[in-house]
């Protein structure tokens, strides 16, 4: 088994596996759970407790660690071109560099804005009602920001190899 196969074959495969889990769960939260929880809260009595207790914590566990796995495998794929991509040192690495920056901002949002605030919302750490309300808004906007950023991020990740065929000419 050659190093090239491990690097670009297995590496890309694992990067995409983690990425599907991360963005798949992000879309589950934004396209399904937010709306479902709103409707559940309006039920009499409210019916969303099972989602908060059993679904959200597990989904958040895979979500945040898949984000780490995606980023680490992305960095592994860039290898010695990591700095060229992030610092836009070579024109050929501009598209993947933009994708990498978007992914990095999204990883930051997951660990610095979404997860600490979700811990307050789900009761893993103590928080007053006012703190929970604020945490809900911050986590929601960070999650929506990531959904927005995922659209160009996936474009640049999936199209960066095509730059030399005229797509970016």
């Amino acid at each position: 088994m050659s190093w090239e196969f491990i690097h670009y074959g297995l590496g890309r495969w694992i990067h995409i596996l983690f990425g599907v889990m991360w963005i798949g769960l992000l879309y589950y939260f934004n396209f399904v759970q937010v709306d479902a929880m709103k409707k559940a809260a309006a039920d009499t009595p409210p019916s969303g407790a099972g989602i908060s207790k059993h679904v959200a914590p597990l989904a958040l566990f895979y979500f945040r660690w898949a984000a780490v796995g995606t980023w680490v495998m992305g960095a592994f794929l860039l290898g010695d071109k990591f700095a060229q991509a992030f610092l836009f040192r070579e024109q050929a690495y501009v598209p993947i560099g933009i994708g990498a920056w978007l992914g990095t901002i999204m990883l930051f949002n997951v660990w610095v804005l979404i997860w600490p605030n979700q811990k307050k919302i789900l009761g893993f750490v103590p928080a007053s009602d006012a703190e929970k309300a604020k945490a809900r808004r911050v986590a929601f906007l960070a999650s929506r920001t990531n959904t927005m950023l995922s659209i160009p991020m996936i474009f640049f990740m999936s199209s960066s190899a095509l730059f030399h065929r005229g797509l970016f000419a």
Binding site: N30, F31, D35, F88, Q91, A92, V94, P95, I98, L141, R144, T145, T147, M148, L149, S150, I151, P152, F155, F156, F163, F168, A169
Partner: protein
């Protein structure tokens, strides 16, 4: 003004607009015609 991220469609449209903006930025950074 309402935050576009409060609605799912606002979020998706913002993402598509950002994609177009970044696409032209990438082209310009790569020395292509804007």
């Amino acid at each position: 003004m309402k935050n576009p991220l409060d609605s799912l469609w606002g979020t998706v449209i913002s993402g598509l607009v950002l994609t177009v903006v970044l696409y032209y930025l990438a082209r310009a950074m790569m020395g292509g015609s804007p």
